[in-house]
Amino acid sequence: MANFSKSNVPQFSVEVYQNEFLPEGGREVNAIVTVTSTGGGTTGGTPLAGSAPAYGPGQAPDAAVVLMVDCSGSMDYPPTKMRNARDATAAAIDTLREGTRFAVVAGTHVAKDVYPGNGRLAVADAQTKAQAKGALRNLSAGGGTAIGTWLRLADRLLGAADVGIRHGILLTDGRNEHEAPEDLRAALDSCAGRFTCDARGVGTDWEVKEVTGIAAALLGTADIVADPAGLAADFTRMMENAMGKEVADVALRLWTPVGVEIRFVKQVAPTVADLTGRRTEANPRAGDYPTGSWGDESRDYHVCVLVPEAGIGQEMLAARVSLILPDPSGAGAPQTLSHGLVRAVWTDDMVASTSINPQVAHYTGQAELAQVIQQGLDARKSGDFDGATAKLGRAVQLASASGNQDTAKLLSKVVDVVDAATGTVRLKAKVAEADEMTLETRSTKTVRVKK
């Protein structure tokens, strides 16, 4: 969580962990890039001139948040769901920092801004917060679910605000049944890069891939709140997190020399998210991958490139990774916040070239963990129990070996673990739907390697 006593000019640092040594003929270079953003508190670095409004010490950047609450008919089954959603939204509103712009959208097959209701955003203070909570009491369940319309309304509301951080919080309890999947896709595409959004599924009647897809596209988090009673705490946490964001629209820029192929670029901590396909070309040798907004936090990225072969003793720069902030006016050159180098050095020293960097090994395992959980659950759903057993067994083995205890615990609710070290498991005959959805939603959560 952000420390508000610090300066709000974040400092970015980039650290690269790799084994740069390749054997003769070696081409693949892997690197884990750890990006850490800290609020600073000192002005040791160059301030982010022009990028963010010059706020005084102790002041946070302007932010705007739209809360999207599912009000479809299913929210009344059981009725506690709607009540809990109202309470959670109220708790989130209480967490709003004074001065933050906000709005509440009631989502059904259409979207309606229930507060302030004038097509604009309210400015958070004691009075507006009380009014918003009053408006929540009038929320009632009824109608369908068309999440694309909620997002488009949120985009309109947020787009009108002159703020640095734009964020949405979306709560749904059901499938997106009242619009075509393409409509949601199109809505996500039009909103991507315009605001970030956390998505939550409450209960067990929603579609995991829809919710995680929204969060991935809008660079937010996804999670399940199986028990509606837990909503308030979760909403409060999400809002605190949003309030901690200090700089938006940061991109990871990857420069590669001529002849270098990019195999993949993934975020690997705190969650696995493949960014490879989200590249936008910045110039002939560089592309940008979106990372959304940053507060006091640290994330890890796994970059894998193929370099042209070179002789023993040669050295080259395989990639330069930088964090950039686009010029707010869109006209000027983007600002580079920090950068790190990924190198390739060819050596005949087998000890050097065959060792695997521990960070790379760890996150390769974590990415595989997320993948085999997904594949195992898919196989289980499609009736391929042998395939599911094999994949989930491998997942148990990976989770145990890497110390990912949260995931190991979730896995143990879906399979009976015979031997974690060898990945020997049996599928449980009866699995609670909430447990399976929780595992699927949280399968991308990773643990960091101990340094």
Partner: protein, 463 residues
Amino acid sequence: MKMSQSHQQPALSKCPGCEEPLDAGDLFCGACGYDLSAVPARPDDRPTMAITVPPAAGAVRWPAAAGTGSSDVPAPVQHPADLPVTDSGGRPPAEPEHGQEPVGGPEAGPVPVRHDDRAEPGGAADSGDFALAAPDPRTAEHTASPATAPAHGAKVCVACRSGRVDPDGYCENCGHAQPRERDHMEQELDAVAAVSDRGLRHHRNEDSFAVSSTALPDGSPAVVAIVCDGVSSASRPDEASAAAASAANEALLESLPRGTHPQAAMHEAIVAASEAVNALAQEPAGAMEHDAHRHQNAPACTLVGAVMAGGLLVVGWVGDSRVYWVPEDRAQPTARLTEDDSWAAQMVAAGLMNEAEAYADERAHAITGWLGADAYELEPHTAAFKPDRPGLVVVCTDGLWNYAESAEEMAAAVPADAHERPLHAAQVLVGHALDGGGHDNVTVALLPFAVRSQGAGSACETV
């Protein structure tokens, strides 16, 4: 620093692969088929010339200088002119026992061993077939001195010739690392010349050197050469070697003009170099990404130095960088003046193994002494000699002696006119190592030693 075992294997009595006894002239092992051509055979009787071992008939027989062989205790500070002058004809040294104690000799109990991080995989078989990355000194033998080889004022990539070079030293187009200043360095002064080269198989030059000249209080010249080899299994070996070389050089330039005895000055210089390298361990790694998987290891390097002053030749060392003596008259015997701080040398010195066995062991080139914060205990070795004939002092890292291990081989590699053109000779020696495969960084400093005229010697005696 990297040790190539295959290039200084002593005479092969047994197959390195399977221990099968071999016959002279075997090209392959009869038992396992090991390619013995990868291991150049050596004359059988080539004991390592330990300077302190009583020389065999015809070997170099120099008068000992006072204070010789005190590896732990600095020699008493005395003016060079205070030394008793010994007749150059070979009158036995006053205290042979004192000088005969092997320098850095056998130690009771376990010895700290620092393994260098790589074992040579292929041996000579894989050398010779690679593109040259750095300017080849063999083609630059006759360039004027002093020259710091690659000029990169143009800032256009040397590999693709189209990209500009970014501030990190890589091409903005093809990404290739650009030659760095340290990849090839040359320096020549009146009485000393040095050349250092990255070699052909390493991506950076972790060797360093410093050469300088100064004057003793009596106005006579003093010449200093320091050569250091960074331990590549440690972090930032290049910084370690540079720091050690410059610290030792500065210490000598400070103490020699004050009249400190050269041997004591050398001892102090090694201590100063050690402190400089130790200090690096406290600094945060500048570019952590470059050494991320090795940054636990304190920077370390070897050091070897030679000082010519007042008719004396003083050498000092820690590690396995060496000094050779090559007389101007090649009919005269040559000698190695240093004793490696290496596992093999210790085994031999302790009488636990003969030289062939010791050097055949894979631990042979693990060094047992180095400068660095993780060194057990610094044991600077120093020795003083009083050469009675003109010759050449060869100060080098294992990147050179791997390709000319014995004193005779080294002498054969040194051009005949080395004392007249030391820089050229140093370039030729570096070329010799590159021709041999250039598996390691190569650094050599040459100091032509002229014997002072009889008059000068007499003057000393009368002071």
